[in-house]
């Protein structure tokens, strides 16, 4: 085993008693971590558990308040990314650090140009790229523009950037969030190859399945603390989830059989263009019935957002028909609401909430004209607060303070507030985009149960998510979108591989 062999040598990375505060937030509490050389080490934890902060400290983006870092057995001060790069640490960020208008070559040489004039450096990068391509099978056209590359290839450029700078330790922050299952599989092949060549890899993710599939050891963080480091072989997703949340979590969604009833939403030949005039939804037809959850799977950016915007009255469709309860639905968000269509938007910060408003103000957004919130020509403040308190209780929002600014709630609690607002309107049709994006494991379980409860009450639910597991767990029927078309419809039990193929555009 690689790990046994490496045990004898120094750990590639040793963090000792790292402590970091951001004002009142204690992001990292006395954290110690050893990463063995030539292994893949996973770090899991909920949002805000401090994983990214810890890795940013290791990469020199932030300074720890106290604590020591050893790289390859040597005490190392990492005050900036330059220091980290010099110490052989490379990082692939969740949001790629690439310049879209530059070529692959220019992106790789940025910061390591090798002299004032670019010409000599260019030749060197080209040679080095050829070598890396040979060693690791990382093929990419050096003269392509980043903006023209698929996300998977952009990520490859990020990895090449780190390797070009001589990284021995590669940190990857949520690398599969933007990838199709097959792209993710390809990434894992690359990571295993890097490991075989003696590189050390630290993988930050919230996907327990990935941890189980690829890592040798896994560390779990919870609320700024390192709660456990275990060999992956000796653990299970259930155990990891429990360590992350601090209580038992049901990972699988439990739902009973239910027979769908009448058609609530019907979409016929819908074509939607984006602001630039590009066709994003290309003649899509489907129906959602009462008492079923229809899930739309697909890689982000394949028309799901525009589809949701068209149905919910935010973006006028170019052509086609949308029928709600058998009657045409005009493109008007307010009317859609009045016709009992509720919407939990994909990007809640942009469309769902106002971060600088109080919780109670957010709870009435979109329904602020409702009778129950009025007192003559004024808003009935007392009724609004009472209503908010009740919703916060029902949806287990913490802290339960209707007057707290929404920006001070965690992502999961913000999402619960949006859900409470929309679900409590008792709509006929609930449209949900990315319900658990930026939401931690504990809250995910809660949100999933609520969505199932909606369906069991005989409501129609249309769910769009890039998390394939979420779709397969919740939906009664799965539609797959790719390039603005529905490339397939299948049962949620269909294998991930097969759905993945449809997500990549292969016909069902």
């Amino acid at each position: 085993m690689t790990s046994d062999k490496a045990m004898a040598a120094h750990p590639a990375i040793a963090l000792a008693h790292i402590d970091k505060r951001f004002g009142p937030v204690h992001a990292n509490k006395d954290i110690s971590l050893e990463v063995e050389k030539g292994t893949i080490h996973g770090i899991v934890g909920e949002n805000g558990a401090g994983k990214s902060t810890l890795m940013s400290i290791l990469f020199g983006f932030y300074q720890a308040d106290s604590g020591d870092i050893q790289v390859d057995g040597k005490p190392t001060r990492i005050a900036s990314p330059t220091d980290a790069i010099r110490a052989g640490i490379g990082m692939v960020h969740q949001h790629f650090m690439l310049v879209g208008k530059f070529t692959v070559l220019e992106n790789i040489m940025l910061g390591a140009e090798g002299g004032f004039l670019l010409n000599s450096g260019r030749a060197k990068v080209r040679r080095e790229l050829e070598r890396l391509e040979k060693d690791y099978g990382l093929t990419v056209d050096p003269d392509a523009l980043i903006d023209d590359l698929a996300v998977g290839l952009q990520q490859r450029v990020e990895i090449l950037k780190a390797l070009y700078r001589g990284a021995e330790v590669l940190i990857l922050d949520e690398p599969t969030g933007v990838l199709t299952p097959s792209e993710a599989e390809h990434l894992f092949r690359i990571l295993r190859q890097l490991k075989d060549q003696g590189k050390t890899i630290v993988l930050i993710t919230h996907k327990l399945k990935e941890i189980m599939a690829i890592t040798d050891r896994v560390s779990v963080m919870r609320r700024g603390e390192m709660v456990a480091t275990l060999p992956t072989r000796e653990t299970s997703p259930e155990q990891l989830a429990e360590l992350m949340v601090g209580r038992r979590v049901l990972l699988r969604v439990v739902k009973a059989e239910r027979q769908p009833e009448r058609v609530v939403l019907e979409v016929k030949n819908l074509v939607v263009k984006d602001t630039a005039g590009t066709v994003k939804v290309n003649g899509v037809s489907f129906a959602v019935r009462a008492g079923e959850i229809v899930g739309i799977a697909g890689v982000a950016g394949n028309g799901q957002s525009e589809l949701l915007e068209a149905i919910t009255g935010i973006r006028p469709p170019f052509s086609g028909e949308i029928l709600l309860n058998g009657k045409p639905l005009p493109c008007d968000a307010a009317q859609a609401r009045a016709r009992k269509l509720a919407h939990v938007p994909e990007d809640r910060h942009r469309l769902g909430i106002v971060m600088s408003f109080d919780a109670c103000e957010n709870v009435i957004l979109g329904y602020h004209g409702d009778e129950i919130y009025q007192n003559g020509i004024f808003q009935d403040r007392r009724a609004i607060v009472a209503d908010t308190e009740k919703k916060m209780q029902d949806f287990d929002v913490r802290p339960q303070d209707p007057h707290l600014r929404l920006g001070l709630f965690s992502g999961g609690n913000q999402q619960k507030i949006v859900l409470a607002r929309e679900i409590e309107q008792d709509p006929d049709l609930l449209i949900v985009g990315q319900p658990t994006r930026g939401v931690d494991v504990g809250a995910i379980e809660f949100i999933h149960r609520r969505l199932i409860a909606m369906r069991d009450r005989g409501k129609a639910v249309l769910l769009v998510s890039v998390e394939l597991d979420e779709i397969r767990g919740l939906a009664d029927r799965v539609l797959v979108m790719c390039g603005g078309n529905i490339t397939g419809e299948c049962a949620p039990e269909t294998s991930e591989k097969q759905i993945g193929l449809m997500m990549a555009g292969a016909a069902a």
Partner: protein
């Protein structure tokens, strides 16, 4: 023959008018390519012109005037940098403030120091940048085309004119062929990428606004001590904004920036030429309308004739490390 002569005269005059535009446009290019929007070009030109006029009048040296112009303009550029890079302030607000301060300060100081209606004293030719004719310019003057171009356009301009047009290929080379240029362009597109590559974003942006200050200093000096012979209150008269318009036409690229500035130069030269001259079929066009033509054209061109101009992606956005 007569037409050719007229053409050469207009071309020569167009070049002279476009020089301050070109300096200012390139100045804006450095700043905006690095992600710092700068609508304070106008103000920086103005302080540059004032400093040049004052120092040239006091020392009798055009070069001392130029250096003073650069220093004054760079100082204002650094104020803009301090507000928008270090303190992440709103770049538009900062730029507007600089324009107001420059307009008020130069007029007030001019009035207080020299007491001749906000101007600086009239400079003798020795304290200005004067053009010297090239060899044989007078002899070749009447040779059609080649001679006219040589003696009326190329020859006899002052040194700042040549420097302005040399600054174009120099900027191009810096931007696309050097490490500095690569980093400058990167910091205007995605500063986070520059930061994680181990390069200081503030240092790059300060370098860029300094370049911007230097070039605005040249523009100001040209107005006060090369084209003109003293600083006059508000003598930039919107040139900084025309330069910004030219920068947008040029889509933030140096060579097209030169053509855009020359286009505006031609318009202004033609407008000057046609003042008081009756045009066949229309009659005499009012002076005011002729003077307004470049601005009207700016509006039209910006409104859609140049296609979609995509600004540097991170332009106007202060860089904050994300958590």
């Amino acid at each position: 023959m007569e037409w050719l002569d007229l053409f050469a005269q207009i071309a020569g005059s167009a070049i002279r008018v476009s020089v301050p535009l070109l300096f200012a446009c390139l100045a804006g290019l450095y700043s905006e390519r690095a992600g710092v929007f700068d609508i304070g070009l106008e103000g920086k030109m103005l302080v540059g012109a004032f400093a040049a006029g004052t120092v040239a009048a006091l020392t009798g040296s055009a070069w001392a005037g130029l250096i003073a112009a650069i220093l004054a303009s760079v100082f204002f550029a650094l104020i803009h940098g301090f507000a928008s890079i270090t303190h992440r302030g709103n770049q538009i607000v900062s730029g507007v403030a600089i324009n107001f301060i420059a307009a008020g300060l130069t007029a007030q100081l001019g009035e207080t120091w020299f007491d001749i209606g906000g101007q600086t004293p009239q400079l003798p030719n020795e304290a200005r940048f004067m053009g010297a004719p090239w060899p044989f310019a007078a002899e070749l003057r009447n040779v059609p085309v080649i001679g006219q171009v040589y003696s009326q356009i190329l020859s006899g301009q002052n040194i700042l004119v040549y420097m302005a047009f040399l600054a174009v290929p120099l900027t191009w080379w810096l931007l696309y062929r050097t490490r500095f240029g690569l980093r400058l362009r990167a910091v205007g597109e995605n500063p986070a990428a520059v930061d994680t590559a181990g390069i200081s974003v503030p240092a790059m942006r300060y370098a860029a606004v300094t370049c911007c200050g230097v070039l605005c200093g040249f523009a100001g000096a040209y107005l006060a001590i090369a084209q003109g012979a003293s600083f006059i209150e508000n003598m930039t008269a919107g040139k900084g904004f025309i330069a910004l318009a030219a920068l947008i036409f040029a889509k933030w690229r140096p060579i097209p920036a030169m053509w855009a500035c020359l286009l505006f130069g031609v318009l202004e030269a033609v407008a000057n030429r046609l003042q008081g001259v009756p045009i066949t079929g229309i009659g005499e066009v009012p002076v005011q309308l002729m003077q307004a033509v470049p601005y009207i054209l700016t509006v039209f061109l910006l409104a859609g004739f140049i296609g979609h101009a995509v600004a540097p992606k991170a332009g106007g956005v202060p860089y904050v490390k994300e958590k």
